[in-house]
């Protein structure tokens, strides 16, 4: 009991310092035997003490910024523009850490019964940093710009299913080609920053309705911003000024955090995770994300057109070893379907698939493969550690009698010559906000990026049905059915999901873990404060 008491005290102090969010706190204290009600009350009490402080300059050192970056939200790909655009820009809706839709530029969402027609009511009194009010027309124009192929927006896949967009007074009405219960979630995509006039006249203007106003922008070097005095939500944007420094070198980024030059960094190198945890004044925060590292087989090409061979390979990979050695323990085991606990409606009842040499051998023999080498293509850029991972895979598969052979490919042209072309290679997915989008992007028979050539009519049928299903219990069952199909028949070998790992100085308050994306889903600088 004293042990539990101590742990509870510790948790309360953590909550007080803003290091634990409500959900985490209640989860852990109920595990200690407290009722959920008591836990919630306790958290409220503890959290009262962590009043956000206003003022100061909050700085982040972010890896993944290039001098080729621009301010066009549609073109943002790497972490620096992602984090920066989330500060000066605002999306119509965003995601809360527990997977709910958070209304930002709209304050009401409604859907028709078949979830084909969606109506959003625009929040009144919100202005862009140039002083103009945010209107329904701006929102529609933004979506229209992202629909244009020439804009090369990363959100094209999200908006292209919208057949009709209408702005009427303070209402935005979107009509879809087929019903989707997930539309608000899909529109949280970070590319869909609402711009005045949709950004048609100048997508690089950097004018948005976010918590901060862009001051200076040097591509691949630095962004500085000032607090937006007219921002509609007074509960965030605590620092007077924020600064984002692009520091791509792992050692330099870590040194900058240790020396206090920056208050938070992303992508802590797994190799130094342990060391940094022991460093004074610094906390290392990891949160399981949706990104995953994979090996993909084309289900329609020999020898991978034989499900027994696919199963043999699935049993021939040592997942624990990969998580330990490739991710340095900073990740979780994959189960051969692209969904994990970070997704809403995740089914955790599937047994964990493990390395089983005997079973792999049995499946391999059943497949009747002629014993010729099975070539697995990989490149250093397929994912961090992809070459080592492929070699580990080959070693464990060989031990089970499967003649797996690694072939090294150059990074140059890997995504055009190998991925989605060769029948078996290493790759990665960054994950999507909801299951439907993940499955629709890569597992639907007709998907352009169906990189496992998984073509299953039954699967497609369930996927389309689940899209418009508003009953969450039914929907969860449909997703479980789909997961089972991909897991037991698909061409996906998914050994691991990687964590987002951030380094945060003790001077920072208000940090919470958010599975939606790294750096608290890109919003750390406006959600945190300097203590």
């Amino acid at each position: 009991m004293t042990d539990a008491r101590q742990r509870l005290d510790h948790m309360i102090s953590e909550a007080r310092r803003g290091r634990m969010n409500r959900r985490e706190f209640i989860g852990r204290s109920t595990a200690l035997g407290l009722s959920a009600g008591t836990a919630a009350a306790l958290f409220g009490h503890a959290a009262l003490a962590q009043e956000p402080k206003k003022g100061g300059t909050l700085r982040a050192g972010i890896s993944g910024g290039e001098s080729t970056n621009s301010l066009d939200p549609g073109l943002a790909l790497s972490p620096v523009p992602y984090v920066a655009n989330s500060q000066w820009g605002e999306t119509m809706v965003s995601m809360t850490p527990d997977g709910q839709v958070d209304m930002r530029l709209v304050d009401d969402i409604s859907a028709s019964a078949d979830s084909k027609v969606w109506t959003f009511r625009v929040r009144q009194g919100v202005t862009f940093s140039n002083g103009a009010p945010v209107t329904a027309e701006d929102i529609v124009a933004t979506f229209k710009r992202h629909t244009d192929e020439a804009a090369q927006s990363g959100a094209l896949g999200v908006v292209k299913g919208i057949t009709e967009m209408k702005a009427e007074g303070d209402k935005v009405e979107l009509t879809l080609d087929s019903g989707s219960a997930d539309l608000p979630v899909l529109l949280t995509d970070y590319h869909l920053v609402i711009q005045p006039g949709g950004g048609f006249d100048n997508p690089n203007a950097g004018i948005g309705a976010g918590p901060y106003i862009l001051d200076t922008f040097e591509p691949g070097v630095r962004y500085t911003m000032k607090r937006n005095p007219n921002y509609f939500d007074s509960s965030i944007a605590h620092a007077d000024e924020i600064e984002i420094l692009a520091i791509n070198d792992n050692t330099a980024r870590t040194a900058a955090l240790q020396a206090g030059q920056v208050h938070m960094i992303n992508r802590v190198d797994p190799k130094i995770f342990e060391l940094l945890q022991g460093a004074p004044g610094i906390q290392v925060r990891r949160v399981p994300g949706r990104g995953h590292y994979i090996f993909i087989m084309h289900c329609d090409k020999a020898p991978f057109d034989n499900n027994d061979l696919r199963m043999a390979l699935k049993y021939g990979v040592n997942r624990q070893e990969m998580v330990d050695k490739i991710l340095g323990g900073l990740g979780s085991l994959g189960n051969d379907f692209p969904i994990n606990a970070a997704y809403p409606l995740f089914d955790d009842s599937f047994p964990q698939r493990e390395y089983d040499a005997a079973k792999a051998k049995e499946y391999y023999e059943k497949s009747g493969h002629d014993g010729s080498p099975i070539i697995l293509r990989t490149a250093p850029g397929a994912f961090p550690g992809a070459v080592d991972a492929a070699n580990l895979f080959a070693a464990s598969a060989n031990a089970a009698g499967i003649p797996l052979q690694v072939q090294l490919e150059p990074d140059d042209g890997y995504w055009s010559n190998v991925w989605n072309v060769e029948p078996f290679c290493a790759s990665y997915w960054g994950g999507r906000p909801v299951q439907d989008q993940m499955y629709s992007t890569a597992y639907l028979s007709t998907a352009e990026w169906n990189d496992t050539r998984f073509k299953n009519a039954k699967f497609d049928e369930v996927l389309i049905a689940a899209r418009a299903e508003l009953d969450q219990t039914k929907r969860k069952a449909q997703y479980s059915e789909m997961a089972a199909m991909v897991r037991d028949e698909g061409g996906l070998i998914l050994p691991m999901f990687n964590d987002y790992v951030a380094g945060v100085s003790d001077k920072v308050g208000g940090w919470f873990d958010d599975p939606n994306g790294e750096m608290m889903s890109g919003r750390a600088l406006s959600q945190c404060w300097l203590v």
Partner: protein, 318 residues
């Protein structure tokens, strides 16, 4: 015409011709790379249709010869074109970065060149004795470590442990001169350590070589002090090889410090080049390549010119 002027004109003409040849080589080299900008930009999301659209949009479908002459014409009029990746004007992007590169190189050179020559003189004066051994030992060990290792060591000691300088050398427009100096202190230390040995050893060797001459012996017999012999008689005669090595190192400070720039997140040409090489942004790669080649050719030409002027036989023809 005075033979020196003739020589100089020849050298400069040769330099320009070389620059033209280099421009062709750069263009051809970039052409020969596998894949193209459109593929690099689209990456995993490249569909044949998107590739074709993007290529047409970027003007990659013109024949190479047309593109080469368009490019060359642009350079002569000061127009380096626009970056393919973000549409920024290349000349405007390069200007502040080139200034940063020259600032860092300049700071390092101001410290490294006099220090190296001085150390070289001292080492030559005490050749084979302990000062020579200490100087050679230290400079040779710093040159033997890769730059990024020296960088990390310096960063750890002066940035994290002592806290004297910030671990990343970021400079911004509007910073005062002293703030700038403070910001670049760590990369300057690294660069000085890296270039010191080469210049120091060359000075030492050139002086020792001259010290074998008969006129040095005469000076010794006259009773001139050793340091005076080196300063007044040996150094002027060793100037040509020393200048050649100094220029080589200056050129390295401008064009070869990519690794140091990346380690310290210093916003200069090297970092800019690396970013655009990985994105296959050919106009930028070509422009920066040409600037680097120009710097190299210019500094080498300068070394030649100084070598020529320092040679009395050329200065006073019969």
């Amino acid at each position: 015409m005075h033979p020196i002027v003739k020589l100089l004109v020849q050298r400069i003409a040769l330099g320009l011709l070389l620059l033209l040849a280099v421009s062709a080589v750069i263009f051809l080299g970039v052409e020969a790379l596998p894949g193209d900008t459109a593929q690099a930009i689209l990456g995993q999301s490249a569909t044949p249709q998107a590739l074709e659209n993007l290529r047409a949009q970027l003007g990659l479908s013109d024949p190479p010869l047309t593109r080469y002459f368009n490019w060359l014409g642009g350079i002569l009029t000061g127009d380096l074109g626009k970056a393919l990746t973000n549409g920024a004007d290349i000349a405007a992007s390069i200007k502040p970065r080139l200034a940063n590169t020259l600032f860092l190189a300049g700071c390092a050179a101001v410290i490294a060149v006099p220090l190296a020559i001085l150390l070289g003189l001292v080492a030559a004066r005490y050749a084979g004795k302990w000062p020579d051994k200490v100087i050679s030992g230290i400079t040779l060990s710093t040159i033997s470590l890769p730059e990024f290792v020296v960088g990390y060591i310096v960063m750890y000691i002066f940035g994290v442990k002592m806290g004297w300088f910030s671990p990343t050398a970021m400079t911004f427009p509007g910073m005062s001169f002293w703030d700038r100096l403070h910001a670049v202190a760590l990369p300057v230390i690294v660069l000085v350590l890296v270039v010191l040995a080469h210049m120091m050893r060359m000075t030492r060797a050139a002086i020792l070589n001259v010290m074998q001459s008969a006129y040095i012996e005469t000076a010794e017999l006259k009773g001139v002090t050793p340091m005076n012999i080196i300063w007044k008689h040996a150094l002027p005669n060793a100037i040509a090889p020393v200048v050649a090595v100094v220029m080589l190192n200056l050129a390295y400070l401008v064009v070869g410090v990519v690794v140091v720039e990346v380690v310290f997140s210093y916003n200069a040409l090297g970092q800019y080049l690396v970013d655009h090489v990985t994105k296959r942004d050919l106009p930028v790669v070509q422009a920066v390549g040409l600037i680097f080649a120009g710097v190299y050719i210019l500094l080498n030409m300068l070394a030649d010119v100084i070598g020529i002027i320092a040679n009395p036989r050329l200065r006073h023809p019969k």
